[in-house]
């Protein structure tokens, strides 16, 4: 009897304790729920590190509206069920905004709850579906795939002038979403998808995929994989002598992949959404600061986290209070320039769905470095 009683009290204590008091003086509670373990750990930790760096900077400079930012980071284990639990946990403590998650599935499950609670959610997810669900409190920190894929498609159509294309993608929600949007854009432009090759997360041996690519004999190859897999793929492609141009979106042209692929990335080209290699001083300074602090090169998720915090700071200072509802109203349609808020790094505009619009780039890997060949203007400025 005693033991059960003890257990029950432990349970009660633990759940009661779960939300520690945040009501200290002059802080604002802006928790983050991120993929710190499981399949999304790399994205999640990058996002977290970028975010915490921005928060430290802001707190050192006096916080937002005189309030220090308090951001506990909770792990979703890259799982939708756990994401929901962790979001519920922070919602119980009335957050002002919530950062994360990055995985699209986790965003989809949490955004309905934040909408109900009228709390803005600054997410890292890129799946098209996120902003197509009328969840009016969700804000992206990078292009949704419905915006990035047309840019790639245009590039393949206009610059490469490919008649047929092969697509290699990683079979998870990120890769599948990209692949679906991409093939749709290809169809719209009358380009034949000659090979549609699915790969697994963590796949090591790409020889079969490259053999298939060779067989397809397409004019261009679109590669939509995570970093390590991109590097392994590039090595194999080089080994088997793939001649068609390899086109990527952001990841493939990242310095990380270039380093990991060791020479095999030479000549890779494509669209770069958010990159530490952007020809913008603010971004490069950020990248250097990040590298100095964490001792690794940050990927686009780090920038998402960093700029996400400054986005919140800017909007909050505009509305002059910590009010989620007012935040959402103000943020829809807002444009932030680096002149007004240096931490935003690049001019950014949020539309009524919470989609973000920024400049982006066309690049190429030359001599082991990403070289930007063209800057694509913001969609809204065309």
């Amino acid at each position: 009897m005693l033991r059960t009683g003890f257990l029950v009290s432990l349970v009660a204590a633990s759940i009661g304790l779960a939300g520690t008091a945040h009501a200290q003086q002059k802080t604002v509670y802006m928790p983050a729920i991120l993929e710190l373990s499981g399949a999304g750990a790399v994205s999640g930790t990058n996002f977290r590190d970028g975010m915490l760096m921005a928060i430290d900077e802001i707190n050192k400079a006096g916080g937002i509206l005189g309030h220090k930012i308090e951001t506990p980071v909770l792990d979703t284990q890259s799982d939708a069920g756990t994401s929901r639990a962790q979001l519920q946990k922070v919602l119980d403590n009335n957050p002002y905004v919530v950062f994360g998650p990055v995985f699209s599935g986790s965003v989809l499950v949490t955004q309905l709850m934040t909408m109900k609670a009228e709390i803005p959610e600054i997410v890292g997810g890129e799946a098209a579906a996120i902003t197509q669900k009328n969840a009016s409190y969700v804000f992206r920190t990078s292009f949704g795939q419905q915006f990035s894929m047309p840019k790639i498609a245009n590039y393949i159509h206009d610059s490469i002038k490919a008649k047929s294309v092969a697509v290699v993608w990683v079979n998870n929600d990120f890769g599948k979403g990209g692949r679906d949007n991409f093939t749709k854009e290809m169809k719209d432009r009358g380009i034949n998808v000659a090979a549609d090759i699915s790969t697994e997360v963590g796949q090591a041996d790409f020889s079969a995929d490259v053999v298939k690519l060779k067989g397809a004999n397409a004019d261009a190859v679109f590669v939509y994989l995570n970093e390590e897999e991109s590097a392994r793929f590039l090595k194999e492609a080089k080994k088997q002598g793939i001649k068609a141009p390899l086109i990527g979106e952001t990841t493939l042209l990242g310095q990380k992949v270039i380093d990991l692929a060791g020479g095999a990335a030479e000549g890779v080209q494509g669209h770069v959404g958010l990159t530490v290699d952007a020809p913008i001083k603010a971004v490069q300074d950020f990248a250097a600061k990040f590298k100095a602090r964490y001792n690794y090169v940050c990927d686009h998720n780090g920038i998402k986290g960093y700029t996400g915090v400054y986005f919140v700071k800017y909007v909050t200072e505009k509305i002059g209070k910590f009010d989620g509802k007012a935040f959402a109203e103000k943020a829809h349609g807002i444009t932030i320039t680096p002149q007004e808020e240096p931490g935003i790094l690049m001019e950014a505009k949020w539309d009524k769905n919470g989609d973000i619009d920024r400049e982006s780039f066309l690049g190429e890997v030359v001599d082991g470095k990403q070289k930007i060949v063209k800057t694509l203007p913001m969609l809204s400025k065309k």
Binding site: S37, A39, A41, V42, T45, N171, I197, S198, T199, E200, G202, Q203, A204, D205, S207, A208, D209, V211, K212, K214, G215, E227, E228, A231, R232, K239, Q240, G241, K256, D259, L260, G262, G263, Y296
Partner: protein
């Protein structure tokens, strides 16, 4: 045809890696009935020992030796003393749970204390490609294959041609009888753990240049090792190499010619078929069953 050869050659190289990992797995099972669900993480970890040593200024060869030594001590001796020994008498399942927890522990530790990022890893040989009957194969893959085969031959000789090896085999087959014959069973079991520690370290050195060192590497590797071990024959060292190579080649062929989104399914179907129709594995002997 060239592409077929390409697939075979690449599959062979990947299969050799699986084999190397599967051998240790098989050895542990034979001598101590340990199903090591952390075997994949055991391969992931030594690369980080090496990287850590190199970060402290050790040259590659020294770092590699340190890595192997640490691996033998930590993944061999410590693993046996701290986890397997106290648990083994309680049956297989608690130990399964423990090794699953251990795999989580190792993964998370590397992520939190080293890095969540993939790390480039120095290669044993220069990155050169060789052309062979229309297929291209990297020198690295050939080295992997050679080392794997040499390891298996070495192990085979050790197990079958030396007194020590025969003692180990006797221990694996029937510990009670081995004990009666005066074989120090405890020490023999320890040796298999040491060998496993060394094997996973070697595997780690071989594959990390290709796979890159990352905390998640173990997930796919561990599973591949299970499958290879079972297909080849759970109670046979030779079986592991056959199983590994079948797996590597099969994976490539099915991804290229059947379905890439179901590539993960084919090895599993073979696995189930082997278990159901030839549970001793392709090269295994029938285990005696007491009624």
């Amino acid at each position: 045809m060239a592409s077929f050869i390409q697939l075979m050659v690449s599959g062979l190289a990947t299969g050799a890696i699986y084999a190397l990992i599967a051998i240790g797995f098989t050895l542990l099972w034979q001598t101590s009935q340990t199903i090591n669900f952390a075997q994949g993480e055991f391969v992931m970890l030594p690369a980080f020992f090496v990287l850590a040593a190199m970060n402290m200024g050790a040259p590659y060869w020294l770092a590699a030796l340190i890595g192997i030594a640490l691996s033998v001590v930590i993944l061999g001796v410590l693993f046996k003393a701290v986890i397997v020994d106290p648990m083994i008498r309680h049956g297989v399942l608690p130990l399964v749970i423990t090794t699953i927890a251990l795999s989580l522990f190792l993964k998370e530790s590397v992520k939190d204390f080293y890095s969540s990022q993939a790390q480039p890893f120095p290669a044993l040989v220069a990155p050169r490609d060789l052309h062979f009957l229309g297929a291209v194969v990297s020198l690295q893959s050939i080295v992997v294959l050679a080392v794997a085969v040499a390891t298996v031959i070495g192990l085979h000789l050790l197990l079958n041609k030396t007194r020590l090896g025969r003692c180990m085999q006797a221990t694996a087959q029937n510990p009670t009888v081995a004990r009666i014959l005066g074989i120090p069973v405890g020490r023999m079991v320890l040796y298999t753990f040491l060998i496993n520690g060394a094997l996973v370290a070697i595997a780690s050195l071989l594959i990390s240049p290709i796979y890159l060192a990352k905390f998640t590497n173990g997930e796919a590797l561990g599973m591949a090792a299970f499958i290879a071990a079972i297909i080849g024959g759970f109670n046979q060292v030779r079986g592991a190499i056959l199983g590994g190579i079948i797996l590597g080649v099969l994976d490539n062929l099915s991804a290229a010619y059947l379905s890439s989104s179901y590539r993960g399914a084919f090895p599993l179907v073979i696995l189930i078929a082997v278990i159901l129709f030839r549970p001793q594995g392709l090269l295994g002997r029938v285990e005696e069953r007491a009624v």
